[in-house]
Symmetry: C2
Subunit: 251 residues, 2 copies
């Protein structure tokens, strides 16, 4: 197994996978390591859905905007905020659970994301490749239907997993100084922003991306094409409705 | 640096720290690894507040219910969902950001939690100890005031960090079968719940905990004392108000 520093430093998301299957024992080993992550009060308010079946992956695909990783990866992991199991335990033990509210959804989401990232790091240390799909929160209602998630369960993120069949370039990151703050938050001046985004804006791939999308600035590619206000507001409404429907908005 | 499998398998949260300081270069190395975690569209919608100052840690303490780790740990890291920086970049680049909604808050929260867990694993691999503080979402409004977080920024989780001065017992976990589902969700029967929670309920520490709290079942310790409905609903209201105040509830 690899040395951690190298794994964390040299990583990249993998979207193309070889035909080599992911062994069940190996996967269970990764998931077991994931479950050692910190969690709230040791309630383990999460569930992980392991989808390998071609038919179910095909059903999930539209929820993930038909990104090809869903059908091409040997394993799809859907990490869910889950108070259903804990609630059921409470009910059979004469306890009255109060986890049908927004705070409990956040608690369970945090728990499930710490597990997800631990599973991903464990996977990468074994030479596997992973890709997160942000579409999970956009299309949670459809994923709930496909994966038959009961009340008390909401999908938070999805990871595709397999042996890499590509080694893409690493994507850029802002300088560390751009994302850390000493003692308290120090808000950004225009000059700070100019300085921190300079390298990103001057990259050839950024310039090409801006040009291909017929935009004047890279920022406009994000706001006008990739993550638009109209989409975000539409998805927000759907997600809040999902939280309500799944029993997390009692207040 | 340690081998990953051992680090992930043998870990435990550390609440007591030695007087040995955490070097700034080491901390920056861990944070840099953290920033290599996957994030949405490479927007890096997070910020990390590094608090070492005794006075500011003392100001943070009540927000974390005066858990002693806050004042005793050499480093407190507050991981925040942050669209403020990205919005500012958009504004100076003639782009109109649409990230003032609930979906964007979830996106930024996910990003910040993947960074947090990566930093924690990197830290543990160096022999450091960490502890997550779930109180962050309960008392976000106070943390915002103490850390001077502007609109577009919400604290999501807090981690205390330092060299361990204890090696507590590992806490138990449910059997892996209890938290995974093959292909789609398989809801739990009463028999499943009995089986999955048997070991937890039969542990001596669980029995002692139940007795000390004068409860009939372990589940009642959670519902009646540790995580009550009244508290959860109160904190939910405050957190939703925080999302509104910080500019994440436009829909």
């Amino acid at each position: 197994m690899a040395e951690i520093s190298g794994v964390l430093t040299d990583r990249r998301s993998i979207r193309k996978y070889s035909a080599k299957p992911v062994d069940d024992n190996l996967l269970n080993e990764l998931l077991t390591m994931g479950c050692r992550a910190s969690n709230t009060g040791n309630m383990q308010a999460y569930s992980i859905i392991i989808t390998r079946d071609e038919k179910i992956k095909a059903e999930l695909a539209p929820s993930h905007f038909n990104q090809k990783m869903i059908t091409e990866a040997p394993v799809v992991l859907t990490f869910c905020a889950d108070f259903n199991r804990f609630n059921k335990w409470c009910h059979i033990r004469k306890a009255d659970p109060g986890y049908d509210n927004f705070l409990s959804f956040m608690t369970a989401s945090i728990d499930s994301l710490l597990v997800a990232q631990t599973v991903c790091i464990a996977a990468e240390s074994k030479g596997l490749g992973i890709c997160y799909l942000g579409t999970t929160t956009y299309m949670a209602h459809q994923i709930i239907a496909t994966l038959k998630l009961p009340k008390g369960v909401v999908p938070v993120t999805t990871v595709t997993l397999g042996w890499p069949a590509e080694k893409p370039e690493q994507t850029d990151r802002l300088p560390l100084e751009a994302v850390i703050h000493k003692e308290t938050y120090h808000d950004y001046t225009i000059r700070d922003i100019e300085m921190y985004y300079k390298e990103k804006e001057e990259r050839n791939d950024s310039k090409q991306f801006t040009e291909e999308n017929n935009k004047e600035t890279l920022a406009q590619v994000f706001t006008d094409i990739r993550y638009t206000k109209a989409d975000n507001i539409g998805f927000s409404k759907m997600l809040l409705q999902v939280l309500n429907d799944q029993g997390f908005m009692n207040q």
